[in-house]
């Protein structure tokens, strides 16, 4: 029996062995090739992506305005970041709290995450194996506290930051990653760690060579701190005049990931650690500036697998149509003018190349130094009077004032309401029995200083006669006026493609009904005819309007070179009619009756300055709000909050005083800018000047047969009369243009390096 049972056991052994041999044959003989392929591919590590260098932005002469510059970042492991971010601010700030492990204030999740990390570090040999878990956690807490303290000490040499600020930044990174993780979990159907949680994250950036060596030494004892090479965006020196145009880059947000235009391409999609353009050209030319990440695949021995590795494609350079030197000089000119007028907050100046409508200068004053944005940001944001962040040249619209009058005359000529010879009588007021309304601009109060008398189109434009325009506007009606405005591109996007841009308003009857619930009346038409009322244009649009006057064609403007030419169209105006209008514009500056004759006369043998002054009704804007509130004892107080709008004032107050409640209905404006009444009349007004340079022939006479190369628009906020304030500035602009582009006004002639060095290579 024993023998038999042994034999039975032997059969079992044989069966088991046979099963194993069959299985081995299946693996090693039948499917050997499959497993061989899998074995060789299993050595390859998950490929990592190589960052690209963002493209540079150059001006039209090839000056590098902004570029990526090599630097070093201090990065911190995510798992440490996650632990610290869960660490409440109370226990983080209070050094005593570092030692009371297990106190009631701690959440269990936080304690767990500490414990996990401490155990991992203990396994890795950082802490002696005989240390208890609690002891390791305590050691870890002390080490993390000294990490943050050391980071804060180190940051003193960059931009000083406190431990709290750094911790807050860490918490923000943690929050952003958790946000993305939730989105990914929703898509996958279960929650799991995402790639970003295995990575390190920049906590301090932009270290130079010396700083990074110092950092490596200082942080060598913390294995979770890494100093790694990186890139940061560097503007050229003295970039202030161009700051608004260039714009800024910012961190990728969850919204950017959701609306990723590069979502199809795994090497171009936005990732949580990346930067992208958020304003200006950085935003507008994002697709060009942005490169494509490369890939590097290594096997476990660290050898690069060439077949699965490729370099990053750096972003392409973007060449602006802006002439940097011109921009700088005009910025200085505009700044001088604005500073001379105490109530003026700022201004804008736009220069266009008429044939191509390339923007040669796009100046907004005031501006700021983009290289120092981080340190001056808070101060600038507080300046609600001058609003330095406001890109006035494209982001603010003003009534165009008298600069619209040539277009109104063109509308009359096109529609046959007037002819080049028809005359109107101006007695200083439209209605003899209405003394205080519908007056001509030269009438001060009720006393008539000077009436224009009988005027034709040319004289009406030269003297900027309101009464002529009132009558013409009334005769045309809002419909005809607005269709003429439309032909000149009013109410259309200018073509810059900037996200800051505000499109002007062409107040058609349907627009009026929709937005103002108002009907188009003869009075509305009269107002539009002198560029007031709901009609609104940005400085860049006024400059383009002047280009249209100069060339007879409308065309959208462009800010970036080598883009497909935008479509253009010719206005249905005869040359005789153009002649009349242009003579009128010429007369404004060059005729003794002209509104800018005294201020803007530009004596140049080859170029005649033609232009149109304008004054746009301006309303002071709020700069601070008064918020009444009651404290916890019931005593009522008032807070003055600096803000440009009621909603931002309330938001700011809530942020600073989260515990206090207040009545939003009781919030009132506390201060406005300008805080003084106007010097030049009862109402504030913005001063416009739109002009172009017309060639003169050899005898000094204006040569209307040759095209005008350059047009521009000047706006001085709260500058008062257009002629008096913007006129001299326009003359200086014309002189600067001739100075910069030479007597031929050749905009493509090579400029002079000015303050920054020209670079060919990166």
């Amino acid at each position: 029996m024993f023998e038999r049972r042994l034999r039975i056991l032997l059969v079992f052994v044989g069966l088991g062995a046979a099963a194993l041999v069959l299985r081995l044959a299946q693996l090693q003989l039948v499917h050997a090739d499959y497993y061989r392929a899998r074995a060789s591919s299993s050595l390859i590590l998950t490929p990592s992506q190589i960052p690209f260098v963002r493209g540079r932005i150059l001006d039209r002469t090839g000056l590098v305005l902004v570029r990526d510059e090599a630097c070093w970042d201090i990065a911190i492991d995510y798992e440490v970041l996650a632990v610290v971010s869960q660490d409440g601010s109370e226990s983080g700030n209070d050094p005593r709290a570092l030692h009371n492990l297990g106190s009631a204030a701690e959440t269990t999740a936080e304690a767990e995450s500490f414990l996990r990390l401490a155990r991992r570090l203990k396994r890795a040999g950082r802490y002696p194996p005989e240390t208890s878990d609690a002891g390791c956690v305590e050691l870890l807490r002390e080490e993390l506290a000294s990490t943050w303290a050391e980071l804060a000490r180190f940051s003193a040499r960059l931009s000083p930051e406190s431990v709290d600020e750094l911790r807050e930044r860490g918490a923000a990174i943690h929050g952003r990653i958790m946000h993305i993780r939730r989105a990914v979990a929703k898509r996958r159907g279960f929650d799991a760690p995402i790639a970003e949680e295995m990575e390190t994250h920049t906590i301090l950036g932009g270290l130079d060579a010396d700083a990074q060596i110092d950092a490596r030494v200082r942080f060598a004892r913390f294995p979770w701190i890494h100093v790694r090479p990186s890139w940061h965006r560097r503007f050229s020196e003295d970039i202030t005049p161009l700051t608004h145009v260039l714009g800024r880059i910012g961190r990728v947000t969850a919204d950017d990931v959701r609306e990723d235009p590069f979502g199809e391409d795994p090497f171009a999609t936005y990732r949580a650690n990346e930067w992208l353009g958020v304003s200006g050209v950085e935003w507008a030319a994002e697709a060009t500036l942005r490169g494509r990440r490369g890939q590097i695949t290594r096997d476990r021995d660290g050898h690069v697998i060439a077949a699965q590795s490729f370099p990053a494609l750096d972003g392409d350079d973007v060449t602006l149509t802006i002439h940097a030197e011109l921009q700088r000089r005009l910025y200085d000119l505009l700044g001088e003018s604005v500073r001379m007028i105490p109530e003026s907050a700022g201004g804008a100046l736009v220069v266009l190349h008429v044939p191509s409508r390339e923007v040669l200068a796009l100046v907004s004053f005031p501006s700021y130094d983009a290289n120092r944005f981080a340190e001056i940001h808070a101060t600038l944001a507080d300046d609600t009077e001058r609003l330095p962040f406001w890109f006035r040249a494209v982001a603010s619209r003003y009534p165009p004032g008298s600069t619209i009058k040539p277009l109104v005359c063109l509308a009359g000529l096109m529609n046959g309401r007037i002819s080049t010879t028809s005359r109107e009588h101006c007695s200083g007021r439209l209605f003899d029995d209405v003394a205080d309304r519908w007056r001509c601009w030269q009438v001060d109060g009720t006393s008539i200083r000077k009436a224009h008398g009988d005027v034709d189109v040319v004289e009406a434009l030269t003297g900027s006669c309101n009464v002529f325009m009132y009558r013409l506007g009334e005769a045309l009606g809002v419909d005809s006026l607005c269709s003429a405005f439309d032909m000149a591109g009013i109410g259309r996007a200018s073509g810059l493609g900037l996200r800051e841009e505000v499109v002007g308003i062409n107040p058609t009857p349907s627009w009026l009904m929709e937005n103002k619930n108002a009907r188009a009346t003869p009075g509305t038409a009269r107002l539009f005819a002198i560029g007031q009322g709901e009609l609104a244009m940005t400085p860049v649009q006024v400059a383009n309007l002047l280009s249209t006057y100069a060339s007879g064609r409308f065309r959208p403007v462009s800010l970036i070179r080598n883009v497909t030419p935008t479509p253009e169209w010719t206005l249905p105006v005869t040359s005789a009619q153009w002649q009349a209008v242009r003579r009128g514009i010429y007369g404004v500056v060059n005729d003794p009756n002209g509104t800018a004759y005294k201020y803007a006369r530009f004596d140049h043998p080859r170029w005649a300055l033609c232009g149109k002054t304008g004054s746009a009704t301006a309303h002071p804007w709020p700069t601070a709000y008064r918020i009444p509130f009651a404290d916890e004892n019931g005593e009522s107080h008032e807070a003055i909050v600096r803000a440009g709008s009621q909603s931002s004032a309330m938001e700011r107050f809530r942020r600073d005083h989260p515990a206090v409640t207040f009545d939003p209905g009781a919030v009132v404006v506390a201060a406005r800018w300008p805080d003084t009444p106007s010097q030049h009349g009862e109402e504030h007004s913005h001063a416009w000047f739109g002009g172009f340079l017309q060639p003169r022939d050899s005898s000094g006479m204006v040569d209307w047969s040759r095209p005008a190369p350059i047009a521009f628009a000047v706006l001085v906020e709260f500058g008062g009369s257009g002629g008096r304030t913007s006129g001299p500035l326009a003359r200086d602009v014309a002189a600067t243009l001739v100075d910069v582009f030479g007597a031929d006004l050749n905009v493509d002639a090579g400029g002079v390096a000015w303050g920054i060095s020209r670079e060919v290579d990166r």
């Binding site: 029996m1 024993f2 023998e3 049972r5 042994l6 039975i8 056991l9 032997l10 052994v13 088991g16 062995a17 099963a19 194993l20 041999v21 299985r23 081995l24 044959a25 693996l27 090693q28 003989l29 499917h31 050997a32 499959y34 497993y35 061989r36 899998r38 074995a39 060789s40 299993s42 050595l43 194996p129 005989e130 996958r188 159907g189 279960f190 799991a192 096997d299 476990r300 021995d301």
Partner: protein
Amino acid sequence: MKRSAHQLTEPGWAIFGAVCVLVLIGLVCIYVTDTHYVRGHDGPANAGKQFLRVLLSFLAGYLILKVGYQSVARYAYPLFFVTLVLLVPLLFARILHTSFGGLTAPRNGAYRWLHFPGFPLQPSEVLKVAYVIALAWYLRYRQNYRTFAGLMVPFLISLLPIGMILLQPDLSTALIVVPILLTMLFSAGARARHLLIIVLLGVALLPLAWGQIRGYQRARVTAVLLQSPNLRRAVIERPERFRQIATKRQAIEWEAGAGFQLVHSKNAIGSGGFFGQGWGDGVYTQSTLLPDRHNDFVFSLIGHQWGFIGSLVTLVAFAVIVVSGLRIASATPDPFGRLLAVGIAAMIGIQSMVNVGMTVGMLPITGMTLPFVSYGGSSLLSHFVAAALLISVSQNRPYLLAGKPFEYARREKGHPVDTPGFGFDPPERSPALRGV
């Protein structure tokens, strides 16, 4: 008949040869595998350490041959007791979460090692051998296990070591005790019917145990099932239906998660092909991709380096040990020697089959070493002692006047009770044994 320690019998030489082959395979595998990323870091050093252990183990085996298995047998119960006592500090460490000053420091969350200075010991490995000796000693003259009630006693005795090892936790070692027990009872003549009932009972209780074992242990079992891409797809599509098997996440992350070791073990073995990648060559030899490839997964490395041929040689070596063990059992008239030989053959056979089975994806991955091959002192020493005991049984054949033990007649009609086979003589009276 009693032979001197170096005069081996024919099956003795066979076992000796097979063990030498296995030890050699183990040493050359350990030599080329570095457990760190730096090449040449510790492979040769580990092989040197292992070689020292092999020498010590040979010495231990020689001593056992010298004294003979019967001398060891006298201390069967004290030996078993001592190994049980060795488990006690681990048990306390596990429950109290202390390490007794580093003595019982856990590895990967399991309390299996006693860290004696310069001599870390895994008591559960030693316990297996001591258990086989004690069980053989217990069963040698009895026949009460032929009744169902009597059969319960050895099972109850086995519960103590099983429970203590389970708590470490070390599911695999605990579970290997049960097949050894069944094999020994079966060969000792316990009724197949009874054993079958017990096995069926155990199978019926499995669902209960399924809820009791740890999550990672469950995942290891389901990881074998999840090898099938069809099952993985089914779990991903209808996770609620396959809740008991795996979560959707486990199915999706199988290759990088629970199935990682298995995937790479199969890759390693399969990519070996017929002749293998060669000694020291191949992806899995040179990279640290496959965890535990010098101890628990050393068979993957054998298959990887020497292919189907190498795998067969290894399996044949184990088969030689097992078959020789059974031949020795059949040849000896000593009841204790018989059971000891069967128990040791079962222990080595089962453990090697389970280990190879897990590396090829037929059985769940458990922390079980490949006898004689895997890196590690406790396993090596206990298996050497076991092999030496086996050889010793073949060398010391007592002259027995009595008939061969465990020869029970088949139950026939008219035989209401079990009767011993012809000429059964209670061995207490056997002069042969007394003379040893």
